[in-house]
Symmetry: C2
Subunit: 207 residues, 2 copies
DNA sequence: CCCGCGCAGTGACCAAAGTCGCTTCCTGCT
DNA sequence: AGCAGGAAGCGACTTTGGTCACTGCGCGGG
């Protein structure tokens, strides 16, 4: 059994699982918690590649091709990781041919996700990206009230900026602007979307 | 044998192998020629994801996860494709457990490549991206002459712009600017890099 | 209670990217 | 020769993104 050969590791909020460029010697599976995968630039900017929750694995690729980690990973909350060494996992894959196929679909999802990021980065403005994530949040976490759809931003402006590939200030500014346009109200992290249609409409516009 | 179940297809320059969003029913392997994978935006902009040569495969992912193509592919020259249906390839994978592992390393390379694009898009300017591709070209195709390292741009400014995720004019402008700075000479598609060190130096600068 | 700190708001400013409109050059075709 | 179409050059302009410097708030620890 694979579990027998695995190791459990605990990470507290903000702790690095691994850094870009490090050699990789095993597969990380998230048993509990939340992990962010990201790239860092020389001037300190960050670009988030994905946020993964319990049940998902991180950094499958270096396990197979033997290369270094292409990005860094950090725990966003108390996180428990199950770690399986490369040797063990490779052996396991050869014994169970359906496993790598399964992994391929996982990697596939990751690849589609990356292509999505590229699409956003090269075709859309920060404004559109912000609107799009606001709409997603409204749909997944929003509560309907008399004033509109209400929800909390899941993280600081800084964190949000990292995910959109930009800086804190632009989040502020764009939220302000949307408020000025009457589409939503902002109170600290509390967002009230007053006009979902209006927001969606802005997305569909060609540029 | 797998070859027995394969189909050969011919594509002429500019012909589409498949388009983003279409369902996928098999694996394409390039027997001869050159293929470009790209995304298209509503306003006609393009972003190149990769350029693949003979011996490489394209669109491995949809074969495994059954989803639609995440991007479009076009032949850049006379191209011959070997096509294997999903069913056949999946069956083949189960018989030969080492095959999906091999595919994983291919997909891994692709993933690293995409991460690289994301890094460039979110951390670097067009100027830097241009310099970087010029240096690559100089290294791979350049001939040393008395005036410097000489080579031809492999494609139109438009095509180059697509690869860098920008527009034609910025290629012109940045080439001009580099010329004005005395780093290279431009004559139509003929480039003469006069100062490789100077160019490289510009890349290392923080922003 | 006050201090420090992290987070957010904001205006001034600057640089990069993109758009438009037009010109020029080349090439192939009739 | 003349024309059409594609590729490139180029200037003027707008928009977007990013930087800087500062203010203000809220909260927890000393």
């Amino acid at each position: 059994m694979l579990a027998a050969r695995s190791v459990r590791k605990l990470f507290s909020t903000g702790e690095l699982l691994f850094s870009e460029g490090e050699p990789c010697n095993g597969l990380h599976i998230i048993a509990r918690g939340k992990v962010r995968l990201f790239k860092t630039s020389v001037n300190g900017r960050e670009q988030v590649l994905s946020v993964n929750l319990a049940g998902e694995s991180v950094a499958e690729i270096p396990v197979f091709d033997g290369g270094p980690y292409p990005a860094s990973a950090v725990a966003l909350e108390e996180t428990e990781i199950v770690f399986i060494s490369r040797r063990d996992f490779n052996a396991y894959c050869l014994e169970h041919p359906e496993v790598p196929l399964k992994v391929l679909t996982v990697v596939g999802a990751r690849l589609r996700n990356l292509v999505g990021i590229i699409e956003e980065l090269s075709f859309t403005t920060i404004r559109q990206r912000l609107i799009s994530t606001l709409l997603k949040l409204a749909q997944s976490e929003g509560r309907k009230t008399t004033r509109g759809i209400e929800f909390q931003l899941p993280a600081s402006h800084q964190e949000l900026a990292n995910q959109l590939g930009t800086v804190r200030e632009l989040i502020s500014r764009n939220l302000m602007r949307l408020h000025a346009e009457g589409l939503l109200d902002v109170d600290a992290r509390q967002i009230v979307v007053k006009d979902v249609e209006g927001l969606s409409a802005l997305l569909d516009m060609a540029s």
